[in-house]
């Protein structure tokens, strides 16, 4: 009896992985040649995979809905004869398969351990377990020594032998050395003579739920939008003075003001002059929707990740109103009860980390919007005014624009106009 590994075949140009859609077999089933095993789906089509051999299913890998890499073992079969797996060969996939077998989410249907765990029993990786194994170090010009089978396997996996420590006699790279090197993800498992221990652990976390949504959205924005970044320095001394004064003299029922409501009011003031920046770009249809109303997304960190609740119709709100709405939205976002309405429909976004704001950021535009501004941290900095060096409250203003819609020149004009408002806050409130 032999073991036959059915690997997800290359199903088409450029397809690196496919989603398991439907299992036709389960462990224990007897399958005939050409019998359907599993349906997998790529971007292009759903394909029915049939068995190339007759045998009994030992294990299946991958739950329905899970993505599997091309070349990864998805079914293990017990077949008459030798099968296609030897103990050595079975180790190979470790190095080549992009997504390692997610141990934590192994298929509920699989009843035997996944194949990658089987061959790499501890005895097979002495180098990884015993980091102090002596080996001859190799001079840069020295040709590494390994048997032809080892050389071929390394070459097929794209691993240069030069970097693999050889623990065999004469510095020979043994098959086990190669296994250990692969198991360590290509890290040199045997370090020099140092008192610091090697850390070989790798923690695998499945990117799901909110995190996956964020990942997809960021990926999508970066892929679609040619970003241009622009950073300008703003003197917020006057605005800060105004804010501090308003807070010091606030009436009952008025919330404390941060800088954010002023930033939002300033946007309301400046955007009518730049209608194409307060907009949503439907790039599939090729239509730019310029909004008269200003709906400002506020990048908000929540326990499950980044969310962007939206202050709708900011043009209708004064700074206190905005401050109240900001509090409501951030609480709703953090507690997870923000509505769909709260989280959509923005026409421009502000992303500010406050005191963590750094000197410069290159924010990613919240697609389908076309601009995002990122105030950096406010610091007291010496500046030159006339012939004197004075201390001013300075803040950098980072921003990104969708270059398909906003050229650098327009972006600069916009930021300069915005800066003028922030530096002379009376202008924000003048009609």
């Amino acid at each position: 009896m032999g073991l036959y590994h059915f690997r997800l075949p290359d199903i088409g140009e450029g397809v690196a992985e496919a989603e398991i859609v439907l299992w036709h077999v389960k462990p224990g089933d007897l399958v005939k040649e050409d019998q359907s095993l599993v349906d997998v789906m790529t971007d292009k089509a759903t394909v029915d995979m049939t068995s190339p051999v007759e045998g009994r299913v030992l294990a299946i890998h991958g739950a329905v809905g899970e993505q599997r890499a091309v070349g990864s073992v998805i079914i293990e079969l017990e077949v008459e004869g030798d099968g296609n797996v030897t103990a050595d060969a079975a180790v190979a996939p470790l190095g080549v398969l992009p997504p390692p077998e997610p141990a934590a989410t192994a298929s509920p249907l699989s009843e035997v351990p996944t194949q990658v765990e089987t061959p790499s029993a501890p005895a097979r990786t002495p180098a990884a377990d015993a980091p102090k194994v002596a080996f001859a170090t190799r001079a840069p010009a020295e040709v590494p020594l390994a048997a032809p089978a080892t050389r071929r396997r390394a070459y097929e996996l794209g691993i240069p032998l030069q970097f693999i420590p050889g623990t065999g006699p004469g510095g020979r790279i043994t098959p086990e050395d190669l296994d250990a090197y692969i198991a360590n993800g290509g890290a040199n498992s045997v370090q020099g003579d140092t008192r610091y221990a090697v850390r070989n652990a790798v923690g695998d976390t499945r990117i799901i739920g909110m995190r996956r949504k964020i990942a997809e959205k960021m990926q999508d924005a970066k892929r679609r939008i040619p970003h241009i970044a622009y950073v300008e320095e703003c003197d917020l001394t006057e605005l800060e003075a105004l804010r501090v004064d308003l807070n010091a003299n606030r009436k009952d029922g008025q919330p404390k003001l941060t800088l954010l409501p002023f930033f939002i009011r300033a946007l309301v003031k400046v955007l009518p002059d730049f209608p194409h920046i307060n907009a949503r770009f439907d790039d599939d249809e090729g239509v730019l929707h310029e909004h008269a109303g200003v709906h400002v997304g506020i990048a908000t960190q929540t326990p499950s990740g980044l969310m962007v609740p939206v202050i709708r119709h900011a043009e209708t709100r004064d700074v206190y109103d905005i401050a109240v709405e900001l509090i409501r939205l951030s609480v709703a976002a953090r507690e997870g009860n923000a509505t769909r309405e709260d989280l959509s429909g923005g026409t421009i976004t502000i992303t500010s980390l406050g005191p963590l704001g750094g000197i410069t950021t290159t924010p990613i535009i919240n697609h389908p919007e076309v601009a995002i501004i990122g105030p950096n941290k406010l610091v007291e900095r010496p500046t030159v005014q006339g012939s004197f060096v004075t201390v001013r409250k300075m803040m950098n203003l980072s921003s990104s624009f969708d270059h398909r819609i906003v050229d650098g020149y327009d972006a600069a004009l916009f930021v300069q106009a915005y800066r003028r408002l922030l530096e002379h806050p009376a202008l924000i409130f003048m009609d």
């Binding site: 020594l145 390994a146 070459y155 065999g168 006699p169 004469g170 020979r172």
Partner: protein, 463 residues
Amino acid sequence: MTDILRPKVLVVGGGPGGYVAAIRAGQLGLDTVLVEASRLGGTCLIRGCIPSKALIHAAGLYEQMAATHAKSMFGISLGRAPELDLTETVAWKESIVDKLSGGVAGLLRKAKVKTLAGWARFSDAKTCTVDTDEGLVRIEAEHVILATGSIPVEVPGIPFGGTVISSAEALSLPELPKQLVVVGAGYIGLELGIAFAKMGTQVAIVEMRDQILPLYDEQLVAPVRAWLDQNGVNLYLGARALGATGDALEIETNAGEPMSLPADRVLVTVGRKPLTQGWGLEEMALAMEGHFVKVDDRCATSTTNVWAIGDLVGEPMLAHKASAQGEMVAEIIAGHRRCFDPVAIAAVCFTEPEIVAVGMLPSEAGEGTIIGQFPFQANGRALSMDAGNDGGFVRVVARADNHRILGIQAVGVHVSELAGEFATLMEMGAVLEDVSGTIHVHPTLGEAVHESALKALGHALHI
């Protein structure tokens, strides 16, 4: 009306490189066409390795019988001198060649390779025309494997023709030369010179350099040198061949004096050059490296999907190198990831006695090495073959610090058969302890390999 073929793979040349490439390509399911102008098997099979070994075997047998006639050996004596009919010897040799060439044809058929008999002529890198008996065939291939091999080099002033012959003609002579002068003491000249000497020809060897078999060190060639001396082969080292007169070869000796060596045949074996003419290489715009077609470690030429292997791409010009490259290229075309990275390629001389060498000679290994040498004089099997007194030995060269084997050579009767073990030791990256820890069979010549490793480790048993 020209037939047009559009195979996946076109192999040009049916020698050990080309036919192996074609078989492997066929095995891998690639639609493959092989073009060969002459008979399948190439220089190796038709006019090189195989026929020369047949001739050498026959010559050896004749020599032993003649010796037995002269003087009883091991209790064996012949009442009358043995006779040699060279035409029958050549016919026997041809029967072996026929069998092997036919075998290659069968293997190609089995691998579903289409074979075309004719001379390919390229009009661009992927297109050639073959003039076959059935008419012109045009081939437009996706991949081209060039395996055209090599041809003998002439000595300036002594063109082939008349009494001046190359190794190819020497293997099919109608009658035994009485006086043969061999120009060039490389392995081809020595193998054939020695074979003719065994058959009774008076042989003289002229070599421009100061040493026979210049690729090896003096110690390794000394037993061959001794055989030549003992068997009346005149060696003119440091001498230049000036011209052939029909019944003699004019030379200038190392003392600068002219000399006339009587010769009814002059065998010129001063080397081989890649066959780069006459098949349209100039139309293919391939990058060259000297006389050779330039290739990378995957045997890829400068043009995508045009590959070149064997003698055409450089030294060593050996059949087994060509075959290995052919097999590799077929696998690359089939989508496998391969490169040509042998640690060493063993070479064998079927001189008397034989020489086998792989890896570094002691002189090449330099400092920090240890050498273990064990004579066949102390090997039971060699003595039982009357092969203990020719000065033969096994010699292993290893690094002193980690005992890694850098090279291993032997000279002696039948040592060519040790080539496999030598090559395996090199490829596996063996250290001396690997050899000393392997039980070698008694009684065989291989025990000398074991002992040479023990010798290098300082504890040989039988010396």
